[in-house]
């Protein structure tokens, strides 16, 4: 390895076995082959095995931060574990230089019966710190963890947030050259998370950070590049925004769920570019659409609602005819509507649109097309929130 390269991963793959029985058998066989000096042929799959990580390569220099994203089970944590040498790769090779600060799981190595104070020493030793080093940094660790009187209670009485606080505080104080962080930080409260990210930013100058997270704003903020894993394979490695966009669009389409009670959707014509069944918009663009509904009921008045949901299923934006002062009349038979929405200030990502028609009292749902349309919002910025407010400052 040359220069400032701290992590070099070349064509690394890892296989796992699905069945417990076979896993034992293979384990015994591999060990036996090791003992007699034969290769266990790690590069070949045996029955019941699969690649959990398939052909991953990257190189990280000092000061760089790699975000690893992807759906559950994509192999993100396995990559982290190979970087730490917990798992040996079955193909390829991993080279790392320097001491690794590892935060792969909450309080790894904490003993539930020991106090936080005692665990600091144990955990520090596991991370390779000497007693002298720990003593020197002890106050700083305690200060950072900020768990107050709990420091002298057994760790088993800690909340998961406190676990992470203490674990993270220790991991970053071992002066790592390489910091490996799994999703654990999500457990901490907002204040602590902010503190952690600030600390990571501070460390970034002197080390290489690899972080696994589902929290895209976080990834966007701290990663200098990003790898998207799906089904064990690296789909994308490069600019963070692009990786995040690919991530959002790689999700399987949410099932459309249509509930009709007397009103049917005949036509929905959205006036924008369509690509692979996805409606493409840029942040801040207005949206126009034509609807045609067929009604069996003769409702005096109705309300039409259009909602946007984030990819995690939360409602993030809504337009309602009633709220906009329009009292729509719905008679029997087919009727056409034209809807024009103002600038859609959604931040880049994937959203689903739902259409709801309710009776006047807005209790009875006459039509509910849930997750009927996918919108891909494009733009440069990955915000913290899905909605971007227009405003000015002086």
């Amino acid at each position: 390895m040359s220069g400032d390269v701290l992590i070099k991963v070349e064509g690394v793959s890892k296989k796992f076995c699905r069945s417990l029985g076979r896993s034992i058998k293979y384990g015994v066989r591999d060990v036996a082959r090791d003992l007699v000096g034969l290769s266990s042929k790690p590069g070949e799959l045996r029955e019941g095995e699969f690649w959990a990580v398939d052909d991953v390569s990257f190189e990280l220099k000092k000061g760089e931060t790699l975000g690893i994203i992807g759906p559950n089970g994509a192999g993100k944590t396995t990559v982290l574990k190979m970087l730490n040498g917990i798992f040996m790769p079955d193909k390829g090779k991993v080279e790392v230089r320097g001491r690794a600060g590892v935060l792969i799981a909450i309080g790894a190595g904490f003993h539930p019966m020991l106090t936080g104070r005692e665990n600091i020493y144990v955990n520090g030793a596991i991370l390779g710190m000497s007693k002298k080093e720990i003593n020197k940094k002890y106050d700083s660790i305690v200060d950072f963890a900020d768990i107050g009187d709990f420091l002298d209670s057994p760790v088993k009485y800690y909340s998961s947030g406190m676990y992470v606080r203490l674990g993270f505080a220790i991991a970053i104080h071992c002066e790592p050259d390489i910091l490996l962080v799994d999703e654990v930080l999500a457990v901490g409260d907002v204040g602590f998370r902010a503190k952690c990210y600030n600390k990571i930013a501070e460390l970034q100058n002197n080390c290489t950070v690899v972080i696994v997270s589902h929290d895209m704003p976080t990834i966007a903020r701290i990663s200098s590049k990003c790898m998207l894993l799906n089904n064990a394979q690296p789909i994308f490695l490069g600019a963070t925004e692009k990786a995040i966009q690919r991530y959002f669009s790689s999700f399987e389409r949410e099932k459309t769920n249509i509930h009709s009670d007397g009103v049917y959707l005949v036509v929905c014509d959205i006036k924008t570019k369509v690509e692979n069944d996805e409606y493409i918009l840029t942040t801040g663009e207005p949206l126009e659409m034509n609807l045609e509904l067929d009604s069996e009921v003769d409702a005096e008045q109705m309300t039409l609602i259009i909602c946007f949901l984030s990819s995690s299923g939360e409602f993030v934006a809504e337009w309602s005819s009633w709220f906009n002062g329009v009292r729509l009349k719905l008679g029997k038979g087919r009727q056409k509507f034209h809807i024009s929405l103002g600038p859609l200030q959604l931040n880049p990502g994937t959203y689903h649109m739902s259409l709801i028609v309710t009776s006047e009292n807005r209790i009875e749902h006459l039509l509910w097309v849930h997750n009927g349309w996918i919108f891909r919002i494009e733009g440069k910025r990955i915000g913290n929130a899905p909605y971007e407010i227009e405003g000015s400052i002086s």
Partner: protein, 282 residues
């Protein structure tokens, strides 16, 4: 920058390095894990005794019960233990204390990696430390029992020989044997959890096959067996050292020590070779 340690992880890495080259790395790793071994020992020690009322007294209860049972069986005439050179309680407690260094040590070592399981899969550290820290627990138990022995020696007015000062040296082969077997069994235990049960059974069984609670028979089946059982001479040799000040069978003790050393070195090497696979199976 360049003085930073570079680690290389790749399949069959150790096979490529060969069987012998790796010793240097193993020693370095052992030296640098001193701190960790101590911490793990303290951790297990605190965790073990914090929740008990009797605390370290538990290290005494089992040998006392065992010796008590034997005294009872002997007096009741169920069993004839034979003549011992010092009062039986002294003889048996001393032997049992030495034996338990092996037996509790082996049990603890065997379970060490499985018990450390959550740690093993979440962080990379020299796993030898877990096994060695487990043996340290057993050594601590032995030290506690020395306190009991002092009392028992005083009660029966037996004066240990000056050579007792060499006892720590005489116990090294036994500890190496324990550690060696512990390395192997802790690995096997990760693959097959049956090992825990087998070890518990075997240590109990071996206790009766080894002249711990009775003097070495001079003839018969057990006498023949004792020649091939390195544990026998390792336990009785150490005991003789305390009681008589010399070993009755120094050459046997020496060869048993050599066997222990070889077992230890081979097991350690195997452990180092295979430990990287353990995280996947724990």
């Amino acid at each position: 920058m360049n003085n930073k340690q570079v680690k290389l992880y790749q399949p069959d890495a150790q096979l490529k390095m060969g069987w012998f080259v790796i010793w240097r790395e193993m020693f370095d790793e052992l030296i640098s894990s001193r701190e960790l071994i101590w911490r793990l020992f303290v951790r297990d020690f605190l965790a073990k005794y914090k929740q008990t009322v009797l605390g370290i007294l538990w290290a005494l209860i089992m040998p006392l019960l065992m010796v008590g049972t034997f005294i009872f069986l002997n007096r009741a005439g169920v069993m004839n233990i034979g003549k011992t050179d010092v009062p039986y309680p002294v003889f048996a407690l001393l032997g049992l204390s030495i034996w338990q260094l092996f037996a509790t040590g082996l049990t603890a070592c065997t379970n060490s990696i499985l018990q450390g399981g959550s740690m093993v899969v979440k962080i990379n550290f020299p796993k030898e430390s877990l096994v060695i820290a487990a043996l340290a627990q057993s050594i601590f138990g032995f030290l506690v029992r020395i306190g009991l022995l002092v009392v028992v020696f005083a009660i029966y007015k037996v004066i240990p020989s000056w050579s007792t000062l060499l006892l720590p040296l005489a116990l090294i082969p036994l500890m190496l044997l324990t550690l060696g077997l512990g390395f192997l069994l802790s690995l096997l235990n990760v693959l097959m959890r049956d090992i825990t049960y087998i070890v518990t059974l075997m240590t109990t069984f071996l206790l009766f096959l080894t002249p711990v609670l009775y003097p070495s028979p001079s003839s018969g089946f057990l006498a023949t067996l004792n020649i091939y059982n390195p544990l026998s001479v390792l336990v009785t040799g150490a005991r003789d050292l305390v009681i008589f000040g010399y070993m009755k069978e120094p050459s046997q003790f020496l060869s048993a020590s050599l066997i222990s050393l070889v077992i230890f070195l081979i097991s350690w090497r195997i452990f180092h070779l295979v430990e990287a696979r353990m995280a996947e199976r724990v």
